[in-house]
Amino acid sequence: MAHLNCPSCGAKVEFKSTVSLYTVCAYCRSYLFRGEEHFENMGKMADLPEDSSPLQIGASGIYMNKSFTIVGKNKMKWEDGFWNEWYLNMQDGTPAWLAEAQGEFILNFEQKGVSPSSLPRRSDIKIGQRLSLQNQTYTIVDIKNAECCGSEGELPFRAVPGEKRFSVDLRSTQGEVFSSLEFDETAKNDECRLYVGRYISLRGLQMKFLREFDGW
């Protein structure tokens, strides 16, 4: 767990995940990039819009007998609303994600080593189109032109307000499986990230240190 001091305010900044590249200083909200030898200050991160998510950085849970902690938050906005992407650090150091939208939670993992030829080109993406990925058949069910609202904590990619993303939701024949393709605005050559996971309940994750709400 590398830790250095914030170049702006001097506070101790700790990376819980070895995979994280960016973090927001908890004290002065400077947005820091984890360079090879020191942090680079990229400016101040704007406050995220408030929400009534039960999750927060520091909350923990258990998935498939492995415990995890929430270490970062990315908030995305699109034409008809918001969603959150929570970055998890599993106890064995592997990264995972908890996507949150409209009261539903999806635990998913970025798929590494997917051959680029099996992924569709951004210009080819259409709703209803069928894809074969990792021996599974998917149908494209949703396309969103989204933009980042900002981030908190640590994340493996840059997440600053205004950064655009083309987000594609896939549905497989097994309804509970969730999959998405994320194309970053700045990505070259149609590069995209593939995420695969499943719908899950917070109770099923045995989560602790969640936010508390008036009335509950």
Binding site: A26, P49, E50, D51, S52, S53, P54, Q56, I57, G58, K77, D80, G81, F82, N84, A101, Q102, G103, E104, F105, I127, G128, V141, D142, E152, G153, R171, T173, Q174, G175, E176, F178, Y199, S201, L202, R203, F209, L210, R211, E212, F213, D214, G215, W216
Partner: protein, 431 residues
């Protein structure tokens, strides 16, 4: 800020941009649309301050039975009512209520209210499969097509997690497997499956005790309401069947061990050309014993009748037992083929006949030509009547239950355009 868990999160309060009234948002970040409680304006909640989209121009007003902001515990989860919507089927103008329930740890569910019947509904991700035109299967359960149409939004108040306004229309189809209902809403490219479960009135009243006076008065049968006469149908049938079998076996046993004992046989012929005779029989002994005797009249007729007024007279005491018997038999051919009506024989049980010396006096009438009346007086033979009576008795309860079960189903399907009980093509009742 990170990990600031000491303060409890409260609903965010805003002023309505149209009327200035206070409105609060509990599902901040999820809520896309807010309809102001005071002026019913539709507001866009995806901006830091809600923006006006549409003012309310209708004069229709609907009052939710469970007010916004009410908390209630259903199925072990504490929910808050944050939205209320009234939708109407375009074709039939049939309207129902939908309450959006929110729990920050669990998400959203819907409480549906239709003619006083309640169901709890939630979005599902699994895709049902079509087994035939009118049937779906999901998780091993078969769902029957119940209704299909266009749902129009008539009224919205409170928070919703999608963009909604009055007069929005959605294609909607319902399939039932009581207590469940599967509904699909949307278009071919964008659709949503919802699974709802029927909630008994008592459960809803318990969840919302302050409003329980208004809840639970329902009309007719709910689409996915469980038929109370359905569940033990199998056991009931087999119990009845076994009882009938046991009775039949017992009856057979009695017939074998106590066969019919003929006391007296008589043959009465009509003299040539007569249609009416009065005859007195030879005397015979009725032994002491059970008290019941069987009297049977048998006459092979064709397209005619015979009637007997009978007196069984005790020669020692002068007591008489009087009764009538009649036989008739008709047959012929018509466009459907051969038909027949009636029977050659007729019998009855004469009860409490003490032993002694008896004779019969008959008053016979007929319209047949030269018929012969055969008379048989016997004991024990006719277990038939007792068996039929007993069978009827044990069948009474299952029969009544089956009638009630069917009546319940017909009431349920009366609200459906796809009822298996009515054939719409010919307008006849079809099963």
């Amino acid at each position: 800020m990170v990990g600031n868990s000491s303060k409890k999160v409260s609903p965010k309060v805003f002023n309505c941009p149209n009327c200035g009234g206070l409105l609060s948002i509990s599902a901040l970040g999820s809520t896309t649309t807010v309809s102001c409680q005071h002026c019913l304006s539709i507001l866009d909640a995806t901006h830091p301050l809600p923006k006006l989209i549409q003012k309310y121009t209708s004069n229709e007003s609907y009052k939710p039975d469970i007010p916004l902001g009410t908390f209630g515990v259903l199925r072990g989860v504490k929910w808050k009512v944050i939205g209320f919507m009234v939708r109407m089927d375009r074709a039939s103008s049939f309207a129902w209520n939908e309450y959006l329930l929110f729990n920050p740890y669990v998400g959203f569910v819907w409480l549906l209210q239709s003619e006083g019947h309640f169901s709890l509904a939630k979005s599902i991700r699994s895709l049902p499969e079509m087994t035939n035109d009118n049937q779906l299967i999901l998780s091993g359960q078969n769902y029957q097509l119940f209704n299909s149409g266009t749902a129009i939004v008539k009224y919205v108040v409170g928070e919703f997690y999608w963009r909604v306004k009055v007069n929005d229309a959605t294609e909607m189809t319902d399939y039932i497997s009581p207590p469940y209902m599967l509904s699909i809403e949307g278009t071919a490219s964008e659709f949503n499956w919802t699974l709802s479960e029927y909630l008994p009135a008592a459960e809803v009243q318990k969840a919302f005790p302050e409003q329980s006076n208004y809840l639970g008065y329902s009309i007719g049968v709910g689409a996915n309401q469980v038929n109370p006469f359905q569940n033990d149908r199998g056991t009931l049938f087999w119990t009845w069947f076994v009882c009938a079998l046991v009775m039949a076996a017992f009856g057979l046993y009695l017939n074998v061990t106590k066969p019919e004992k003929v006391i007296f046989l008589d043959k009465v012929g009509f003299p040539q050309g007569t249609k009416n005779i009065k005859v007195v029989s030879q005397p015979f002994e009725i032994p002491d014993g059970q008290g019941n005797v069987n009297f049977e009249l048998y006459a092979p007729l064709n397209n005619s009748w015979m009637y007997a007024g009978v007196d069984l007279i005790n020669e020692e005491t002068g007591d008489s037992f009087s009764f009538d018997e009649g036989v008739e038999y008709y047959s012929g051919y018509d466009s459907d083929g051969a038909w027949s009506e009636g029977s050659y024989s007729s019998d009855r049980v004469v009860s409490s006949v003490p032993g002694g010396r008896y004779h019969l006096e008959y008053d016979l009438q007929t319209d047949a030509v030269a018929p012969v009346a055969n008379v048989k007086v016997s004991r024990h033979g006719s277990m038939k009547m007792n068996f039929i009576l007993a069978l009827l008795l044990i069948s009474l309860y299952p029969l009544i239950r089956e009638i009630r079960r069917r009546s319940f189903e017909m009431k349920r399907w009366a609200n459906s355009d796809f009822s298996p009980y009515y054939s719409y093509a010919s307008g006849d009742e079809d099963d």
